[in-house]
Structures are given as C-alpha cells and as structure tokens.
Symmetry: C2
Subunit: 338 residues, 2 copies
C-alpha cells in the first residue's frame, strides 16, 4: 500500500501532527526536523491522501461540469477553458455529459452531491426547477456558462445574444444586403433561440427593412443537418434572398453545404454569416464570417468566478457578459462593390 503519514512519522521519529504541519506549511517545528521529515517523505515516496484530506476539510478540490454534449465543438472549447482555470486554481474537474436529458442531469447532480464537489459549472442549458432545487440542497456555488436563467438568480458568463445577432444582421445590411433570411433556433429556447431571432428582427426593422416570419426558419437544434435542411426551405420563402444569418456556425456551414449542392455560389450569390466562431469556421470553404464568442475564455472566466466563490473571496457572484466580435472571413460579399 502507499505509505501514509504514519509511516513518515515513524520513519522520521516524530508525530504525525508534525508531519502534517510540515506538509501543509504551518508553523511549529524547527528547521532541523523539517529537513528530517522531508527526507523521510522523499525516501518513502509519500503522497498525501486527498480523500482523507477531503473528509476532514470538507473540501474535495474538485468541481463538476455539466454539458449537454461534451463532444460538441462548442462544449469542447468551453471545457478547455474550464479545465485550465480549474487546474490553475488547484481544482480537478469531473465532466458530465447530460445529453440534454433531465433524468441524466439529475443523476449526475446527485452523483456530484455524493462526491462532495466544491462547486458546479452548468453549461449551455436551461436550469429546470428540479436542478435548481438540488443546487440549493448542495449548498455549493454554481455558475452558468453559455446560458442563463430567467427564473433563478444564478451567476452566468455569456455573450449578449440579442446584441450579437443584431450586429451580425447589421453587418450584412452594411454590406448592402436588403433581402436577408435567418436560419434560427427554437422558440422554446429562451437562451440561444429567442434572443438571436429577436436581434435579427430588430436589426431589420431598425434599418427600414421589412420583417415577416417568412424571414426565419426555425429549428429544433443548431446542428449541421438543421442548417442544411433549412436552406431550401428558406429559399422557397425568400427567393430573392442575397444573404443569411445562421444562429450557429454548424448551421451556417450546413447551409453552405446545401448551397454548394444547389449550385449557389457563396458568397457571390449568397452571403452567409454564422454565430460562435468554432474552429471549423476557418476550415470550411469559403472561410466563414461569423460572430465570435470567446468560448475558451468564457469557460475560463466562469471557472475563475466559481473558484473565487468557493474560496470565499467573493460573496455574491457577478455575472459577466463577455465581449463578442465579428470575424470577417470570406463568406460575405459586399454588394456596394458591384
């Protein structure tokens, strides 16, 4: 078995209390015994047992992160940021893949409760009452990332989707486009769905362009297939469309793919702007102009907030709207140039 603090104490001829103090950098021993103990630690290859520590300290130095889809490109980047900040703060992260299932989410939450994680990061999904109740029960800090909650007062880290969509749309308008469509998300999604569609609508209206519900096709998800299937539908409603805004990069690229198949040239005949700035945005052809969410940064920031909440450095967490920007690549043409 691994050596314990007792073995070290015996080997160094001191009490376990002294070893503990030395290991934790607390005062109460001479330089001489410190050296002696450190040699014993070295000799035995002693590693403190984090489980025993956790039991007495009521701190596991572990946080849980819940994603609806860990392998999604958006989640991955957020995860990288979270993991990074957690590691810097001395925490480990347990990942949970909820697959957007309420049952699974609850199961995971219970698991994290049993494992006594010190905090939770909840990503990209709506907080149901059931979840919130468990958060309350657990009495650990929670921070939302890439989502928010209207019902509950939970700190979040995200970008302002309304503004992002608004500016994406205005960008198209500035490029001279007047017939603009949108491949949208779900009306049942209060986070990424509704605000992006509202931002789109508002931008059209603010610029004197007509908006009807024909301008938007709605989708259940935000995936490639959704975008691919949406383009023909949108084109039917809006045949003279010269540009479109997709509520996600995946959908934008799906639309691009459909355009290729239909023989529609991007951006010459159809301009496309996306939302997210995933890694694929610069890999596709033509490279996708898109609204950039600082995903890794968001993960990092949310975790930093969580850590400072855990350490008690701040009482009430402040939510953060992260800055977004429009990354210009080659999927949008300028109609003024013609």
């Amino acid at each position: 078995m691994n050596p314990t603090i007792k073995d070290v104490a015996k080997h160094a001829n001191v009490s376990i209390a002294t070893v503990s103090r030395i290991v934790n950098g607390l005062p109460g021993y001479s330089e001489e015994t410190k050296k002696k103990v450190q040699q014993s630690i070295e000799a035995l290859g002693y590693q403190p047992n984090a489980i025993a520590r956790g039991l007495i300290n009521k701190r596991t130095q572990t946080i849980g992160v819940l994603f609806p889809d860990v392998s999604g490109m958006l989640s991955s980047e957020v995860l990288e940021g979270v993991e990074n900040a957690a590691h810097d703060g001395g925490f480990s992260v347990i990942v949970c893949n909820t697959t957007s299932s309420g049952k699974r989410t609850v199961k995971y939450l219970r698991l994290l409760q049993e494992k006594r994680v010190d905090g939770i990061i909840f990503a990209s999904e709506d907080v149901k009452e059931e979840y919130y109740n468990i958060f309350q029960e657990m009495k650990v800090p929670v921070v939302l990332v890439s989502t928010a909650s209207s019902k509950y007062d939970l700190p979040f880290v995200r970008v302002n989707d309304f503004d992002g969509a608004f500016q994406a749309t205005e960008y198209l308008i500035r490029k001279g486009h007047k017939k603009i469509g949108m491949i949208g998300g779900s009306e049942a999604d209060p986070i990424a769905g509704v605000p992006r569609m509202q931002g789109f609508q508002k931008a059209l209206e603010s610029n004197g362009l007509m908006f009807t519900k024909k301008n938007i096709t709605k989708n259940e998800g935000y995936r490639f297939q959704n975008g691919k299937e949406s383009l023909p539908l949108l084109l039917k409603e809006l045949p003279e469309m010269t540009a479109l805004f997709a509520a996600s990069d995946e959908m934008a690229i799906g639309a691009m793919s459909a355009a290729h198949q239909l023989g529609i040239r991007v951006p010459e005949e159809l301009s496309i702007i996306g939302y997210d700035n995933l890694k694929i945005a610069e890999m596709c052809y033509p490279p996708l102009t898109t609204v950039s969410q600082p995903l890794k940064d968001m993960g990092q920031t949310s975790c930093e907030i969580l850590v400072s909440l855990i350490k008690g450095e701040q009482q009430e967490a402040i939510s953060r709207y992260m800055p977004f920007s429009i990354v210009e690549r080659q999927s949008v043409s300028n109609l003024h140039d013609k």
Copy 2:
C-alpha cells in the same frame, strides 16, 4: 450541514451499522427496520458521503483521463465514449489536459495519485519512462487509447494505422490514381506518424508504383494549418500528382482549403482522402472521403476494459485493434470513369 449516517440512525432509532447495511443492500435486518430506516433517509434527504466511503473502501469510483488536447475534435469524441462507459460502470471521470507537456502530464499524474483514482486512461500520446514509473507506483490499471507503447506492456485500444494507411492508399490506386502524394505526420511519432507513412509507402510499392521521399511531406503536427501549408510544398515536388492521402482529416481539409485558394478543383483535379473521420469530414466541401476510426467506440471500449480491470473481472488486459473502414464521400474522383 448535510445529514450523516448518524443522523439517520438516530432518527430511525437504530445503529449506524444497520443503516449502512441497508444502504448497501447487505443482509442483517428485518423488513420492518428496513422500512423505518428508508423513511428516515427520505425524511432527512440523506446522501451517503462518497469521500468517507472512498477512504475506507480504498475505492473512489473515479478514473482519470489524460488528453494532449481536450478541445481537439479527436479527443472530444474519444472523451464522449469514455465518459459514457465510465458512467455506465458507476465511475466518474476527471479530465486532464496535458497540452503534450511532460511537466503538466507528470503534475496531473501526481494529482490523480493523490486523489486516489481507481484507474487511468491515457490518450493519443507516447508513454514516457517518467509516466510509466508513476503508473507502476500508483498500482492502478492503465489503458491507452488511440496510442500504444512499444517499450512498455500496457493494454491499448486503437486501430492499426499501418493497415489504415495502406488501405486508404490502395483505395486511391483502385480509383485509377498513379501519382499519389502524402501529407504525413512526424517521423518522431511512432504511433500515428511512422506507421501511416509506412503503410502509404507499402501500398505504392505493392502496386508497382514508384515511391521516393518526394511523395511525402512531413509535419510536426496534424492540424489544419499543417495540411494547408503542406499542399504547395507537395505540389512542388510532385507536380503531376492527382491524389493525396493526408494523415489526418484536419490536414486533409487544410489541403482542400489550399487547393481552393490555388484554384485546383477537388476532386476533379485533385483527389483527397483523409484519416480519422471527424465530424467535420462531412461538413466540409466537398465532403471528405476518409479512413474512419471509431473514436467514440474506442473511448468506450478502453473505458470498459479499464472498468473490468478495476473490478478485477480480468487480470491481464487484452489490447484491442478496432476495425476501421473507408467512408466514401466526394473528395475522391474515379479516373477510370473518364
């Protein structure tokens, strides 16, 4: 604070031993007291403390997973599989992002050691002596995924890269291509680098095609940029090339992007086959024909093996070569059709 087993015992007027037995489904109590205790558990909202359990059982029901790049598309898919199998087996997974840094890897390994994880999954990287020594010290099972070790006897789950590359190349040959280039990885990479290049070479030679080192451009990494930068170089060495095999999908798509910029049409003028079958392979244009690695499955399988090793269901782990296949999409043209 959360209620403990003591609180439940008091509430139900029994000893903690009885509560423990009931919670763990061990024999030694009447139906009557079982009901009574269960009611107390319900009433108090008792959740067993996994930390205390871990301390005494010497089992944390947690595994660690190390990736060189968590947010990479390959890692993400493997992670999904791992997490899935772990959850099914009653384990949680702690993710570690080593960024291919030896120092970070060692730090993480030490951390996992302190946290007393029950097993480790090590992904996509070579096992250095330093790591192996820690594995030995930890005395927990380790399984490699998407990699292998020549020096050490560690179970792995991966596809046979030589065969994959060989078949990818033969696929191009069967389509009538004779001048074939390769965008390869690193010669210093004994896992994904060398075997794929050897498979390529062997396929050419077996089919009576000439092979020289001009047929391959080597790269440090397997990323989009590597592929993008490689195409012009390869074209300089092999101007009459009609097809190329890229050692990764990202590189294949990078090459595609470069081709677009150079005005070379894919697949009409240049056929491209990739390796991995990432999600982007079907999102790019034209959709990428590629060697499919069952990434999620590999993650899942590796974790299943790990779990059965932890549970002691098998002593010596058997390594697994996973089946690959060639997914035909639209990036390769058939020269015979002309």
